[in-house]
Symmetry: D2
Subunit: 346 residues, 4 copies
């Protein structure tokens, strides 16, 4: 912490701040500038230290120097974390593709889609059994029946399965079916839920909150890591801005920023970020060009009949076209798409 004193503050005020710093078991170090006196705080930073110092007489502003997250920081963990799911490695040299319907609607819808996305090159099957919905009157998912269908699709296609868990008491149930637990954007700061998934041994994909800063997002990951679960994957899915043409604004710069600040893998979800199917492919390509470790893409056999988020879902044909483009682009950047799990197993 660095305490900047007000221009023209008194010696008593300066000493008052130093005294408080020392009472808290820390050390204060005074630098006299031309306009402002600055006091550096040495020692382990305490929670709420900033607020406590900012209120003292004569203080103008307090800056935090250390990053508030430790386990998520590349500073203390320089090498990339690679999360493994069966034979897939997320965060290594290969790019993974998660694809599937927004919501699991029926056995037929899920299985057809699972086979189609696998054939097109997807590695992991996505599908929501518990769905957050802005309105209480809309479809909220099939619940455990949806989980059973996901397990069936996994059996048929040998693709691991990722699905959302929305509330702490469902963690055990969802973890008993899923290969990767997904925390949705609206739950990024559902701290009890973060604690709970942190206690499992399952990989967790943590979506960025709609109005979450990069730092808050890494602190949310820190909650999971602090519980002993090191298998955390981040997912950029758009932030809320003034622009209304898209559902959200995809913050592509978050990808290289996360790569710089953290060792955790990062996935991009252009379906939720844009809300419009015809923007999914260009943004998917952009995310990989910017260095994302993978993609999550919504695919539906009949988007215009989907029970959830049809407008942002690709048809099978469009998804196939996208994976062809991705292959070329990823190779041009010196990486390659992961080979679909099943092929390896077969």
């Amino acid at each position: 912490m660095i305490v900047v004193m007000r221009a023209g503050c008194s010696q008593d005020e300066i000493h008052g701040v130093v005294k408080r710093i020392e009472e808290l078991g820390l050390k204060g170090h005074i630098s006299q500038g031309i306009e402002h006196t600055v006091i550096g705080v040495l020692g382990q930073p305490l929670p709420e230290l900033r607020d406590r110092l900012e209120l003292l007489p004569g203080v103008e502003e307090v800056f935090a120097v250390s990053k508030p997250y430790k386990l998520a920081s590349r500073e203390f963990h320089p090498l990339n974390t690679v999360v493994t799911v069966n034979d897939l490695a997320i965060g290594g040299d290969e790019v993974v593709i998660m694809a599937g319907p927004c919501a699991v609607e029926s056995e037929e819808q899920l299985l057809t889609t699972a086979h189609a996305v696998k054939a097109a090159g997807a590695n992991i099957l996505r599908g929501g059994a518990f769905k957050p919905s802005t309105s209480p009157y809309h479809f909220r998912g099939l619940g455990e029946e949806g989980l059973r269908l996901l397990a069936k699709a996994r059996e048929e296609t040998a693709m691991p399965v990722i699905t959302e868990v929305m509330t702490p008491t469902d963690v055990e149930l969802v973890a008993s079916y899923a290969d990767i637990l997904q925390i949705g954007a609206r739950n990024m700061q559902n701290f009890t839920l973060l604690d709970e998934v942190g206690k499992t041994k399952k990989p967790v994909m943590l979506k960025r909150g709609l109005s979450s800063t990069i730092q808050e997002w890494l602190l949310a990951a820190e909650y999971i890591l602090a519980q002993g679960n090191e298998q955390v994957i981040l997912c950029e899915r758009g932030i809320r801005t003034f622009e209304t043409y898209t559902r959200n604004t995809m913050d592509i710069s978050a990808i290289p920023i996360i790569k710089k600040l953290s060792h955790l893998p990062i996935i991009a979800d252009p379906s939720h970020a844009t809300g419009k199917w015809y923007l999914v492919s260009p943004l998917a390509l952009a995310a990989l060009a910017a260095g994302a470790d993978g993609l999550m893409i919504e695919v539906h056999p009949n988007p215009d009949l989907a029970l959830k988020d049809g407008a942002q879902s690709l048809t099978f044909d469009n998804f196939q076209r996208l994976t062809s483009q991705l292959t070329l682009l990823v190779e041009a950047t010196g990486r390659r798409l992961a080979v679909s799990g099943a092929k390896v197993r077969a």
Copy 2:
């Protein structure tokens, strides 16, 4: 719903849309404009109807005409809802003041504050026992011990108590102590939690999410109302914008907007909205001038020693000064401050 067709779309496309509308059990009504054909959809709107129609060939855009919330809407419930807590009426002619520390820290801290805010005119005691915290390493509240202290403070001061519940499994516990359940901004779209508090008989104060639109906020209220709990109070506490001088930007216009769109009472929380104690009083006055039904204010005996949010807490003196100003302002607008519960009881 209104479907706007693309300029120059074909007759087949127009008929395709009408056919789909009819397949869904609704009726389509064509108007031919100069540039665009427009199709009105008649009948009960279905979930995801917008997405489903927007994807049909020839469609340019789809507008929703009806409001998606019903129980929260003034359209179907013209008279103000008044939530009663003991002898206090929230949403009527009187203005209520909720005050107390951000977090319950100790018996002494809570009781001193409770007596002080009551003496200054507060009607309801606030204090967090379960605290959301951006970092896993910061103070997260005293838990049930905090609830017990709140109950003790209520006994001593006869003020009803409002406190936050953060997760569905805590609802029963918190409801057994609290007079009003608070849903925090980060949990505004924690739908399982909304369902759960909707099943209690306790009044619920629902804070607006950091990046929540007015419509999403009313839909979150709709979740609670749809479970049969009609005692919902809304609370504006600032939204996230590009401005960083304040913790959030208080959206004062939300107050008259809610009054127009909904029958539910609305409270303002200038402490969280601004994050700076010296902005709390001007914003508290502004919120009441704009028509808020009450205020929630953080007060602490020693803000510079607070375990949580000291920078935005008022001292006892500052809170006393604020309630004096409030009294004059509220009277000038033809209302009056509620008389503190205890005085009535005595």
Copy 3:
């Protein structure tokens, strides 16, 4: 400036930074923390210093300590600036009301409105002769003819006139008619225009840009002040956020913040901030409760026939009702409304 070095940076990197600081004629002062070394920069801050230091090897972050605006800052100018226009004082104990149509449309429209707003208590007449318009196909104002009508209305009502100037070459012309020059939100960073109005002797009202921070706004004021024109009035008129119910989001907290950081008067414009006439009165009351020095309100004889911004204009009746409410509220806060110029003169 304070330079925070990366954890684990080398001694060479630290000395490199100090050396560069000294080459620039400044002094560097090293503090060794537990995780980070911090270097304070002493001496007059140079433009772009932050960028220049941030790029040196081993540097993590650079914080600015001094405020970048000087003439606009209360730090160096503790007493309130009071701008006088004829017998009106803006920024003193009295609250001023500027009112009139968005755009000057015709002699009849302007004169009727001028008389009506004066009768209701307005002190200054507003009206646009040069109008910014998002679309090139919409009404862009009557130009000099509009200025002549404003002069005529001033003659008839003895109210001073405020009107917008949009481009540097119009400054002389507009200044020859207007009593206060208005810089619109879109031109807040039209630096050539700021220079130009800074060279006149006329008071200037500077609206906050749609996405301007408080600091950028004060720096824009600094442009005008730096040219020798000390008669600057600020005007909060809403910022752009994700909320679309209102045209903009009025940042009421800007009012007490400006009062704290600067000595310049601040006016609130709830008409542009909300874009909806029924929100103008509650927000006008809120702005005064928060300490604004005055209001700017759009009034039109027939809002539903207005050539510009009818949706946010008050009718004469609604404006009259508002000024009655304002009088009571302002008195409750220990101030009073300015008496209309004409009455004083008579």
Copy 4:
């Protein structure tokens, strides 16, 4: 326009709206829904029509159906506009690279940079002679001397030159030196300036404003087009959001959106969008992957000595590395980089 009437409005209110529509020379077409009556407005939309109808008794909301821009719209101009500058085509099959220093600082700085970026594959030289600056005390450019140096660099390297014009009275001067006129983000709604560059015969690159929607941006382009200048290039350079890690948030989705809505070419400027040199390359790659017609990149011989925006400038080495990566990526997407003008000429 579509007028949605309030639920339960009267027949008189409906007829009042239709009557007003007819008085304005348009036709109204009534559709009776279950909750709401909807009135379609047929005929050429008038400016301010929305405001005028929204104020009539019984009206709930008014939607605009037609797009407010015509000349910029792909609807009325399906084929891509290709802007030609000497032998370069912007908006065709080839990708162009504009590069150079933020500001022209000296002959040596500009010429060295010009030769370096050309050698690395740049096609167009950028460099500011007139610089917008948030603070009046910072470097504001060399003015005409800067323009002369740009002309000299063009002579030496045969690269066309792009440079910013900030105020209407400078348009003639700047146009006499520059090959492309640049309108900066802060001037996107400087309507007098837009008119003025619209009257020249020079290509104009229009940067998106910090808080400009896609629609407002296209309307700003419409100003230029409406003056008869069809040579308009758009440039995405980041929007203002709540995230403060980057200078702005680059809205990559704007690229495919512009391609869909408009026929105008679009360039991406990752230097201003991110404000950090180490984010420039990933975002440059992302922008091209998403379909941008070109890039604008800041390059400086010694970023840590730059007078302007050093933190976001690439060194010569980093720029060289970037163009190698770009070449591979662009080829993978089936396009190619334009060959530098000089080579063609030689």
